[in-house]
């Protein structure tokens, strides 16, 4: 397996409470990996270690390593803003920035000074809005406030905004849970289209979504990784009793 992220001996504590217990996994490149498990099992915590978002919560402690392309992102010489540029995040609820639709897409490119002139920024904005499937809906209202969009459109805007900083990895923290079914389906099909170019890691609490999206599956329970493997194997022939119970709907 061509691993894009490798997690080695990862332990996370919130104060005295241990949230992740000795996690060792590998996340394959250019596939969709789904992390599933009952609520409170540490799915989101694990996801937050991949873009160093865990350190935004006070009182968290972390031991072990998270390697992206072989480099531990918790090394002292690592620039956290570079980590987050390479590892993008699609949050649970879309959070449009207090500016126009156009400026939202450009925000990341601007702070990282990724383009040379206005022309290039404009073209890039269009490009990423097209990829996110939003261009047709917003091309005549690019300078409206981003909050004037529907919540489903806002999530696609957040996707475009995230892709615009040219990440290699996309994290999704239950990215469709706040959306209506049609918008959810829209986001899901974007993610499937994009998986050729990006390594995608999605946290989900719905088994059906895990089955629709997952190429590779991680099942967690009470802070531990119980089982990880290609989706077909895990879904058809789970090795562990707990995974089987979850898949059969007992947990």
């Amino acid at each position: 397996m061509d691993a894009h992220i490798q997690v080695k001996n990862l332990n996370v504590y919130y104060g005295k409470q241990q949230a992740l217990k000795d996690v060792n996994i590998e996340i394959p490149k250019n596939q969709i990996t789904v992390i599933m498990g009952p609520s409170g099992c540490g799915k989101t915590t694990l996801l937050k270690t991949f873009n160093r978002f865990l350190e935004l919560t006070e009182g968290t402690q972390l031991t072990g390593e998270v390697l992206v392309d072989g480099k531990n992102i918790y090394d002292r010489d690592v620039d956290v803003t570079e980590v987050r540029k390479v590892v993008g995040l699609l949050a649970q609820r879309p959070a449009p920035l207090p500016m126009s639709i156009f400026d939202n897409v450009l925000y990341g490119m601007n702070i990282h000074r990724m383009k040379k002139d206005r022309r290039e920024y404009k073209d890039a904005a269009r490009h990423y809005l097209e990829i996110a499937g939003l261009w047709d809906e917003v091309q005549n209202r690019l300078h409206d406030p981003a909050t004037s969009l529907s919540i489903g459109q806002q999530q696609r805007l957040c996707l475009a905004r995230g892709l615009a900083v040219e990440p290699e990895i996309i994290l999704g923290d239950e990215p469709t849970s706040a959306l209506d079914p049609i918008s959810s389906q829209n986001i899901e099909s974007r993610l499937i289209e994009l998986k050729q170019q990006y390594t995608t890691v999605i946290v989900t609490h719905t088994l059906r979504q895990a089955k629709r999206l997952g190429d590779y599956v991680i099942y967690m329970y009470l802070g531990e990784v119980i089982e990880a493997g290609p989706a077909k194997e895990v879904f058809n022939n789970p090795q562990h009793e707990r995974t089987r119970a979850y898949l059969e709907g007992q947990i």
């Binding site: 987050r84 959070a95 207090p98 702070i111």
Partner: protein, 290 residues
């Protein structure tokens, strides 16, 4: 039937009626006092308000009821308050952002907030005396600059704490969204927090301006009073609160009436600044996330 009808004489309904009555009385007293203040200022000030009053400086014998106006105090107050507000802003915006971005609710953050609150509570005459002592030791005379500096001292704690309270209500989602794209904390503060919180920041600045333009005690020692319009930062300057004070304490009735006119002018300036900045911040509000 009857079980749905209100049992008016039940204790909890009586309490409700009584409490509502108390709240209404409080509101009436406060709103009534405000109305009364405005009414007195308008009724007593309007008759002696004239074009001459707002367009000319005092002529000889003005303080005995002869011609001229208080343009010196109007211009002086605008200079003082605008200068003080600008100077206070230069310091309070970075402090407020630093408090939110790097100190947060830490021990040091709480110390800074406590000291700002203490500074807020110091009476302005003490600031005036402090400024006066400082000026004497530096060999400075009463001047526009000294007045501006002291007003900045007075406005700074109000402005900073008001901004701090506003900025602390910043939605965490927005900050996280910007951080997730690889922003530094400073970029979040500069590009996201200031934008989202602009209406609140405007209100904070306005609070400072309001306190600055209305303060008499601090400028008494530091800016002095003169019948001329200041032409340099080193010259003394008149101010509206002191113009009100001097004229109201005059033995001549027509001069006392002019004191009310000066008070009216001061009130109008504060109202105009207040309404126009509200209008402005409503327009800037377009992109904020509710």
């Amino acid at each position: 039937m009857g079980f749905l009808t209100k049992k008016r004489w039940q204790r909890r309904h009586l309490v409700e009626t009584f409490m509502k009555f108390i709240m209404r009385v409080s509101l009436f007293i406060v709103a009534g006092s405000l109305g009364l203040i405005l009414w007195i200022v308008v009724v007593r000030g309007l008759p002696s308000l004239s074009w001459e009053m707002v367009s000319q400086i005092p002529k000889g014998g003005y303080y005995m009821g002869k011609g001229g106006g208080i343009l010196n105090a109007i211009i002086g107050s605008l200079y003082l308050a605008a200068g003080g507000t600008l100077l206070a802003m230069i310091f309070s915006v970075p402090i407020a952002i630093y408090l939110k971005t790097y100190l947060g609710d830490s021990k040091w953050g709480q110390y800074v907030r406590l000291s700002l609150d203490v500074l807020w509570g110091i009476p302005s005459i003490v600031y005036g005396a402090f400024g006066f002592a400082l000026m004497i030791s530096l060999g400075m005379r009463a001047s526009l600059l000294a007045g501006i500096i002291i007003l900045a001292f007075i406005e700074l704690p109000i402005m900073t704490r008001a901004m701090d309270e506003v900025i602390r209500r910043m939605p965490e989602d927005l900050e996280h969204a910007a951080l997730a794209l690889g922003s530094t904390k400073f970029e979040v503060a500069l590009r996201i927090v200031t934008r989202q919180m602009l209406p609140g920041i405007t209100t904070a600045i306005l609070l400072g301006f309001g306190r600055g333009i209305g303060d008499a005690a601090s400028v008494l020692f530091t800016a002095g009073y003169t019948d001329r319009i200041p032409t340099s930062l080193m010259r003394p300057t008149a101010s509206l609160p002191l113009a009100v004070f001097f004229q109201l304490s005059s033995p001549y009735p027509e001069v006392r009436e002019r004191g009310y006119a000066a008070a009216l002018i001061l009130t109008v300036i504060v109202l105009v600044v207040s309404f126009s900045s509200r209008w402005l911040s409503a327009r800037l509000n377009k992109y904020t996330v509710k």
